[in-house]
Assembly symmetry: C2
């Protein structure tokens, strides 16, 4: 394994796992006021597109990384939408 | 341009631009209570690793996309650190 492939692996692990703490915090506090609905909508849509692209080129690691991030983004997105609807309700 | 490369381009554009609304919102409100410091630290470190990896393999689009996301993550991270320090101060 070269230094470069280790660097790529670390980059993938960090950006994939990055949203775990935010999902945990948002679930625990139920508070999403400071989160941007646009950001998590775009992140959800973007990671789903990467997942489909990974499927299209047969790249399993790309599918796995974006599948994880999309699931985390979906959780945060859902709580944010709930908060917005409650505020309008 | 195939449908697949269009999908890849859309995925890259969405995940790169995704943090613009969050950066704008965090700058405008100065409020970062609901943001996870761990998430934005990992995101900043991860995108910087991707930037270095892109440099290593000579992939300019990978460098550009992650350079933009790292800058946005850095802005959000800085405001969050400021808020945490102010709270402890």
């Amino acid at each position: 394994m070269t230094y470069l492939s280790i660097l790529g692996f670390v980059a993938a692990a960090l950006t994939t796992a990055a949203f775990i703490p935010q999902a945990v915090k948002t679930i625990r506090t139920g508070s999403a006021e400071d989160l941007s609905l646009a950001t998590f909508s775009m992140l959800l849509a973007g990671t789903l597109c990467w997942f489909a692209y990974g499927y299209g080129i047969g790249d399993v690691p790309l599918m796995a990384a974006n599948g994880i991030t999309a699931s985390l983004a979906a959780v945060i997105f859902a709580i944010k939408v709930q908060a917005v609807l409650r505020k309008q309700g």
